[in-house]
Symmetry: C2
Subunit: 592 residues, 2 copies
Amino acid sequence: MRSHYCGQVDESLLDQEITLCGWVNRRRDHGGVIFIDLRDREGLVQVVFDPDRAEVFATAERVRNEYVLQVKGRVRRRPTGTTNDNLHSGQVEVLGLELTVLNAAETPPFQLDETGVGEEKRLTYRYIDLRRPEMQQRLQLRAKATGFMRRYLEENGFLDIETPMLTKATPEGARDYLVPSRTHPGSFFALPQSPQLFKQLLMMSGMDRYYQFARCFRDEDLRADRQPEFTQLDIETSFMHEEQIMGMVEAMIRDMFKTLLSVELPTQFPHMTYAEAMFRFGSDKPDLRIPLEFVDVSDLMKAVEFKVFAAPAKDPDSRVVALRLPNGSDLSRKEIDDYTAFVARYGAKGLAYIKINDLSAGLDGLQSPILKFLPEEVVKGILERTGAQTGDLIFFGADKAKVVNDAIGALRIKLGHDRQLLTSEWAALWVVDFPMFEWDEKEKRWAALHHPFTAPKCTPEELAANPGEALSIAYDMVLNGTEVGGGSVRIHRPEMQSAVFSLLGISAEEAEEKFGFLLNALKYGCPPHGGLAFGLDRLIMLMTGSQSIRDVMAFPKTQTAACPLTDAPAPVGMRQLRELNIRVKLPEKTSA
Amino acid sequence: MRSHYCGQVDESLLDQEITLCGWVNRRRDHGGVIFIDLRDREGLVQVVFDPDRAEVFATAERVRNEYVLQVKGRVRRRPTGTTNDNLHSGQVEVLGLELTVLNAAETPPFQLDETGVGEEKRLTYRYIDLRRPEMQQRLQLRAKATGFMRRYLEENGFLDIETPMLTKATPEGARDYLVPSRTHPGSFFALPQSPQLFKQLLMMSGMDRYYQFARCFRDEDLRADRQPEFTQLDIETSFMHEEQIMGMVEAMIRDMFKTLLSVELPTQFPHMTYAEAMFRFGSDKPDLRIPLEFVDVSDLMKAVEFKVFAAPAKDPDSRVVALRLPNGSDLSRKEIDDYTAFVARYGAKGLAYIKINDLSAGLDGLQSPILKFLPEEVVKGILERTGAQTGDLIFFGADKAKVVNDAIGALRIKLGHDRQLLTSEWAALWVVDFPMFEWDEKEKRWAALHHPFTAPKCTPEELAANPGEALSIAYDMVLNGTEVGGGSVRIHRPEMQSAVFSLLGISAEEAEEKFGFLLNALKYGCPPHGGLAFGLDRLIMLMTGSQSIRDVMAFPKTQTAACPLTDAPAPVGMRQLRELNIRVKLPEKTSA
């Protein structure tokens, strides 16, 4: 129905007759002439209707915003002074010769360039919201990115293989979405939280290299920027070491950033151990664009009388760190109070600081409520170790290690953005050498830091002897402080898998019941294998600079996991429930 | 870990040292030497272990079938007389220099080349079943085919966009799989039967061209070759006429067959109207490889006294057809009885026939139990119209049109295969001009032949005046008698959509409740649009010559919609059900 996209019209088409289809972005009447900005997926072009073509002009007069038009016209240069350098088509306009209204439109509930439209309204009228150029570009970039990664993986011998959506409940992990089975009364399928076990089974099937853009489901509370269904690029390979796996997918991401965003990521992403990342940044996904670092001063504080510092300094589960903010001594009382309130959200009970007003003036050049509690040599030690300069400010965190890491880690990020300290637009790294297990205080047992199929860097015997020290062959790709991908080499021997299950407090019977098919499969010739998964939504969010993953999904759910457009979820009829052998049982307070 | 795939080793690698990883397909000891056929995704290669390398030989001696090995060795020519022309690697062998057992294997529950293994067993040990070369090749072809179609569509400006899996129940159509919502007690999501409404909404969103390999779900009884979840290639475009849509996807299929199968499909697939397909083949998906055709003889039979023919001949809802089987007069009494039993499955009450033993002998040259009931001129008319020759046999169907079409249509297919009449390996066509509606005798109302969003070839007024005659702008692609794809131009104006809903007996209130968001969206600038969907599993089944769609899916369900590998579906705990506000209510006979 058209010869060109609106957004592609330019001087190369001068004097040609073309046919366009699109939406009325704006109509202006100016000097007896009608100007219509016609919009399609590729952009805008200005169409002009002269009154001397009476019939066409009359049609143009009755069109309104968001009408769908077909226009036949001739491309001509815009008069001097009326060009628009912000538009690809801005040097030209189309003189309208024929005009067909393909569809009318009522006044839309909001204008496309309207700001501050509530999210509920945007999602209710998503088909209008998605017409906005930024939404078009986000979904286009998403399609380009998945296409790029598919081609890369296929060129590297990876096969796109689909795994089931109707599958078995996940014994460990988040809450499952369940699907009642009609043919097996009282039984349920679960929607997959990830295709983890299936991709391992595909390796045992000799498929060698597998990938899939897999829809995954987690029925979690959506306080954070989460969605009930999300997409992961799932990758698994046999007969490759972890360095090769990391190198290959790192090259994929690097090539993609260069091709789609003209961004040069480093030739080799730095590798950092989990221990180092926690020690220096209080996070296993450090944002390396921010040039601020924890300086551990626990040893200096052990001997001081000031209990706030001394107690955590002496406790092996706690730590005391300093965070130097260059040129931070200009922070006002109010600003420091705000940061104190900020770290309190992460459990910090206060936020001590020292301002270095004049380093050359010794203690007199410092300003801090805690100075009086600290011996001079400790203060000196802090200044030396942090490399403090005149004009700097040093923050302190002293508490359980988790609280310090969370609170001062978050403060580090916030300061980086507030003070515009970012040293680059992009910073990528691999975090490696994760612990196999973390101790679950509540349950009084070891829990897998990744998942129970992750291979350790030691023998089953070493693992059993010292589970707290064991490291795993796991790796996370971190981009700008966000974990965009993560994976591991998997256990491929049944005795190691049994050893891990046993450490996790899973009895042989329970393991047999929940993972019997995996343990079985390991016995029949399982190759060494490993892989990883990228969170696609989050990756595209970073690539498009969006604030929420909802902005890179066509039809996301709200924070209460509902779709205001289609009104899902919704009640269903009794007959349907009866067929599924279930009935609704509302909680007391609702039904009473 | 390897330098080459086993299946890729050939004479180009002579005298080179290579490293292979794979599974022991077979081990033979012959003349003091050990031969191991090593297998990976790409094929087999023979590895030889000499006793003069004692350590390596000792390791080789203890390996068994399905052990996973890493072998370093030198490629050499096989001795004369021991080459194998069926293998890509058949001219060479690898002299084993180093050997590592990457994993041991117990004796598998079945051998890879074992025939007649039951499907339950195959699915329980799917990871072994999938190691079979034919399964590997099927999944590889599937991956190649989806990759090919993706690239084709992306080159044509189609964007891969994901639509939700947790969505609203389908008001029309098959039974939904439901997912209880935890955050909206008493409400349910449904898994999509197709992304139909979302892809239309994407057109209204200005996305212009969309595609997706979409997982779809139908909770139907699985008597036929169906799966609870299946994959469709879903395509939708704005501003294109049906001929352009058909032409574009037809070119995609043609290019794919040429590239992946070296099969040349015709430059333009023939178009056949629904009416013609039903008239000539009794089917809306005729298999044109079979050179047999219905010859309608209803007019000839109207006047005969033989009620079996005369009654349906006079009934407008019935028909009488002849099906000539060339050289069919050699069919035995037993064979004809079997065919009679076969058509009875489709509701036919008998299967009349005439054998033409000698055409030149007139009535005396014919042999048939029904000859005595038919006047000579009618018999003559039949012979002329069917073009009968000496040695032929003519079958008859006379009943309600549906019974005749089903029974004689199925007989046509069966005869084509039984008698090896197929004229080509592939036959593709488009079936077009479907009726908008069919009359539902049970419900006493019109039902949509495709779906209620299909555009008719007429105005809303013409549609209302004569719904039974209205044709839709729908099209099905038929390949070898299987509908591989189908679609339509959609309704893009609210008044037409309302007219169709009203004809389908959907009240304005009901339409508002079930499809309000669609009717709403049509008001705000909906472009003309249309599309189609291909059944991927069925298409790959045809392309690989598989007997079942289960053979082109990695992890299919059984006929009772269960997975014997993971034991899904399974009962879940009370706590989980309570969180979802549902409880199990087993049917009386089970719970009592």
